[in-house]
Symmetry: C2
Subunit: 417 residues, 2 copies
């Protein structure tokens, strides 16, 4: 009784917080799916939900040695001290070389270090979007990009480089929503969630559209290093520079990440763009979190300098095998009417179910009867469509788990037909 009375008092005395919150807070909602998946740490569940790298592949010994080195000797104070908002200079210098190898000629003044590429998406939304402005995104697109941009209360319009829509139509749609089109967000390589890659023609069309609308392009290259088949395709930023002669004349803003290659837990990514963009982002970062952790940037620099290519080769080999197993298992266990992508890299296979099968309902059923987890696809669509899609990740599953899990999932799908 006393307990209940206290709770009641607290509730009566508590502030009516939502009335104090900014309008943007209405868009910050817990995802039911994410809440559901939180409960799935049980060992008997086979999960294709995560979309995270396999921790067994992290270069933990190299990081341990790098951290010890950073904290030994006369420079150790600096490793634990405040540092500049643009990021650790030797890491930015290393990235100049890395970007050059991708066809992007730039200087350290074109690079800022971020706390993962997720932070770059947040900052770019913050830099470009006034409430009511329009961001062009794919249908579907990376859920985390929608969440990052949502904080700045934009309208989303569909980015389809092959659609026959006039610039006037894009502009009129944006004006009707109360703002203007600011950028096209695109993940060109083995994208989350579809696993699909934009070829050179499609990349060129994205640039054509951005030029005709005179907007920026945000290129999310989080998975770019994870190619398992086929020829490398230059980043959109490289194509943009080739068209216009210099990164200072390019409208593309490239977001990179060490999360998928070295380790995500250190939270180190980077942005590459023309200097006026980087200069504003540096001021923004100074105001928002001062800088990314100094020690982490030093450790990433050491591990990347000593063995980035070797590490990428190792994880490519493992993930390639898992992708092959998943594609093979899908072809053996999925019934007629189900289709899926065949990614050249990354971590995801995107499955389209027959119309009428709802991915979220399938997840509930699959968890209950088959103990297999995945992510329903609807959350990746800004317009709420895509009910009959699901995302499968192969990055953390052994071959045996893939075989067993896809067999069970195929059975659950059959039962829905």
């Amino acid at each position: 009784m006393a307990q209940a009375a206290m709770v009641e008092t607290a509730s009566r005395d508590g502030l009516d917080w939502p009335t104090l919150f900014a309008t943007r807070s209405a868009r910050m909602k817990a995802s039911e799916i994410r809440e559901l998946l939180k409960l799935l740490d049980q060992p008997d569940v086979i999960s294709f939900a995560g979309g995270i790298p396999d921790p067994a592949l992290f270069p933990a010994d190299a990081f341990s040695a790098a951290l010890t080195r950073a904290l030994t000797g006369p420079g150790r104070g600096a490793a634990l001290q405040y540092s500049v908002s643009e990021g650790y200079r030797p890491l930015r210098e290393w990235l100049v070389g890395r970007m050059a190898s991708l066809g992007v000629a730039c200087s350290i003044d074109n690079i800022m270090i971020t706390s993962g590429s997720q932070q770059a998406l947040d900052y770019l939304g913050k830099l470009f979007l006034t409430r009511g402005d329009t961001a062009l995104v794919g249908w579907p697109t990376y859920l985390g990009a929608l969440q990052a941009f949502n904080a700045y209360e934009p309208t989303f319009d569909r980015l389809d480089p092959f659609a026959n829509r006039s610039t006037d139509d894009y502009r009129a749609t944006a004006a009707a929503a109360g703002g203007s089109v600011k950028y096209a967000y695109v993940s060109g390589d083995f994208a989350n969630p579809t696993g699909e890659t934009l070829d050179r023609t499609a990349r060129g069309r994205v640039l054509d559209l951005a030029e005709s609308l005179d907007i920026a392009v945000i290129e999310d290259a989080a998975y770019q290093s994870l190619r398992y088949d086929g020829e490398e395709i230059e980043p959109i930023l490289a194509l943009d520079i080739a068209r216009h002669g210099s990164i200072e004349a390019a409208r593309t803003i490239y977001c990179g990440s060490f999360s998928k290659t070295l380790a995500p837990g250190l939270r180190v990514g980077w942005v590459v763009a023309a200097r006026p963009v980087i200069a504003k982002l540096v001021l923004m970062k100074q105001a928002a979190d001062l800088h990314s952790a100094t020690l982490n940037q030093m450790a990433i620099h050491t591990v990347a300098s000593d063995g980035f290519s070797a590490q990428v080769d190792t994880i490519r080999g493992v993930y390639r095998g898992r992708r092959d197993h998943m594609l093979s298992a899908l072809s053996r266990h999925m019934p007629e009417g189900v289709s899926w992508t065949r990614p050249d890299g990354g971590m995801f296979v995107w499955v389209t179910l027959p119309e009428g099968i709802d991915g979220a309902a399938l997840l509930a059923r699959s968890l209950e009867t088959a103990r297999v987890a995945f992510v329903p696809g609807r959350a990746f669509f800004a317009d709420g469509s895509g009910a009959n899609t699901i995302r499968l990740s192969f990055s953390c599953a052994s071959e045996a788990m893939i075989e067993e899990g896809i067999a069970r999932l195929g059975k659950v799908v059959r039962q829905q037909l």
Copy 2:
């Protein structure tokens, strides 16, 4: 010639970025003072500008051991992996104990880990401020808070707990600016920049004002552990809980930091508040940078668990001595008409010069003729006043540097009289 032609082309082809940027970007400007101070790494300059901890005092060996431990054994994959947005659970549990020792009864659901307390300020601005809303801040206040909040385009009104202003006046002023009053931001302990502490009466008045306006209180406790004299004063959050019976009924949001006690370069801080606030902040963090670095939270947890109090005792002893030397040197070297605060802790002494002496002009003169650096005070005032104030930091200066630097500065001030 070719070089010049290329630059011209680049400039002609480049986007007109400012027309694409959000309205908020107009408020993100490089500080002239900060740019000036960047150039001051010369060894012959005596700097009281920094406001950063002395790196010689960092527990680097303890961090090295903690990091090695985290990256050895079966848990090492988790140390480098993605983790939850609310933060590392053992660290949040440790903080429950730490907050209890300060008179704040709370659970881990009242705590979120941030990348330094600067990030908490950014997130709280984001959570509460719709463009045009009002934030109450001190005249002067922490420059980094003004910068963090500025991104959300608020109006600043003056927080003075002893002013005789009616709630109607605050509200009418905010309404005229296009929004409403959302929170009072206050640093109660040895605040940056003044070094001053709010006593219990003043803390109570802040709460009274917040209650009468029905707004939140953001309590910045970055320096709270650095007390050198006098009795501990409970956080405003503790007083709020004492008034209302539970943290769930409290309107105060407490922002803590390990930057001033353990090390800033790891970027670990925390927020403590009622659950509805923490729940929104967790969603916001998930969308903005996923989580603070996993490994850093583990290292901070280990080092704090093993020796937080001992570390705080050590740095208190050193900084107390430096504060005493600075106060003594000021009393010996400053001319009549100059006054300053006598802080009970923290890192700063705030100097008021005779009317008509401009702090920024004094800095230019001091750098040129005396090679002594400090921060002019005007940047800390949201209304641009405070021209005749300067901030001196004693945290990184040896006793000999303090004596020599203040003697030289006193001479420069005399020349301005």
